[in-house]
Symmetry: C2
Subunit: 271 residues, 2 copies
């Protein structure tokens, strides 16, 4: 089964350098933990052709596509229009989404956050979803999330406000993703080694990579200067968590021996 | 002149959710400040076809492409190979880059950071650049940055370690970018308004957008709950800073009148 995923982040504020996108980092962590392989994250502007093109490109390679942002009431919220274009579907009023948005504004009006509960065109827009869409309840804000199936592929649209995105992901979306990724599991270990020279680590890592092709092994500088150390990450995917762990055990045995013979001390191993 | 820019972030650690990419945010801020329009940021894995495809796609639309990461000595550092493929050029030993890398390892060996200053294949790899490349000095780490011209387009490869990336950008690269973006200027204002309802703001913003098509106007929630406020961003590009400011002045005049008439208080304006 193909468990590849891709994230499309929508918003000029990201590309103008106003806002640091932390949503995609959080989603990458969640999806990887569920057993997905995240192939790409693309951040694009609030520009219909740019969003549509990003969706089309993602549909060519990923079984799951998650978009963030662009679901709100303003004219530059274009995500659902772009999804409709990319999938060649019509936008239509979704009665379930309409009733959720309506209830939300009734609640907001009662609390005095908004002047009236009237369903204006701007509010109604949040309930106009591509044909066949399943709305996902948002317990924090007004705009529902959206789930679409296109053959075996899944497209999910989440709001850009982090609290809303997390609420929908961990609430309505999680069971669908668990079913999609099934028994897939991901495990990752990190070792800290006393070696100030990544160019000397490279041939040692290569030996472990060659002997354990299913394990991803990578070094990264942790600290610079006289006390420089490197973090070596070992990561593997398996059908079960046990399988992923066994792959890491085997690779670590090779790698630790290779490091030992090269006189490089292992300072810590975080399983 | 087309001043579009694009950033390609390379590294599995980003897509696995291990590391939050802050480099692209920093670069977006710098490039926008120089007058560029950042069209897209793509984060891709350490996978040669994925990096090459991202470069080819960027070459179709952007006058400046900056890559981050994948310049180091290990086997999964694939950026320069991907650039060579995308531009159909050969990798070749660059004497200037070789001498910088060599000097750096001599310095590291003298300080005791590394065991020897020998130019191993792994260290030499950092000096094997696509044909026609100009190496950019890195005063922090070993791997030089790389600048390439392809017709009127510019491709720049920077290391993934933030301190190294910033050193090269602000040092060797800045004069080239200033020449590329010329007199282009970007200005941005932010207003905070007392309105708890983005759906009510939407038609008001639309009036200002229609009257001032060269100004980008967007709202974003700042705080939720009973004291919710919205930030309205107004941004414009001009040939000079004065031109960009005049565009914003005019748009703000329209917008502030529209807000006033709708009874929405302006809490702050940050120019």
């Amino acid at each position: 089964m193909n468990t590849s995923a891709e994230i499309i982040v929508i918003g000029n504020e990201i590309l103008n350098g106003d806002v640091l996108d932390t949503n995609s980092h959080w989603l990458c962590k969640q999806l990887t933990g569920l057993g997905a392989l995240v192939l790409r994250v693309c951040q694009v502007r609030d520009h219909l052709p740019a969003i549509t093109e990003a969706l089309r490109s993602a549909l060519k390679q990923s079984s799951l596509i998650i978009t963030t942002g662009g679901l709100g009431p303003t004219d530059d919220d274009l995500t659902l229009e772009a999804v409709a274009q990319a999938l060649e579907r019509e936008l239509e009023l979704n009665p379930q989404a309409f009733s959720w948005v309506q209830e939300k504004y009734q609640e907001f009006a009662q609390k005095g956050y908004v002047a009236s509960a009237e369903m204006t065109p701007e509010r109604t827009k949040m309930a106009r979803l591509p044909h066949g869409a399943i709305p996902l309840p948002n317990r924090v804000g007004a705009a529902p999330g959206v789930l679409l199936r296109e053959g075996k592929q899944i497209i999910v649209c989440l709001p850009g406000v982090p609290a809303e995105l997390k609420d929908i992901f961990q609430g309505a979306l999680l069971p669908t993703l668990q079913a999609l990724f099934g028994a897939g599991a991901f495990a990752e270990w990190r070792a800290r080694v006393a070696c100030g020279d990544e160019s000397a680590l490279a041939p040692l890592l290569r030996k472990a990579v060659e002997a354990h092709p299913r394990v991803y092994i990578k070094s990264r500088a942790k600290r610079f200067g006289p006390d420089v150390t490197f973090i070596i990450t070992l990561a593997a995917r398996g059908q079960t968590r046990e399988e992923a762990f066994t792959l890491l055990e085997d690779a670590w045995q090779t790698l630790s021996q290779v490091l030992h013979r090269a006189g490089i001390a292992i300072l810590a191993l975080e399983r």
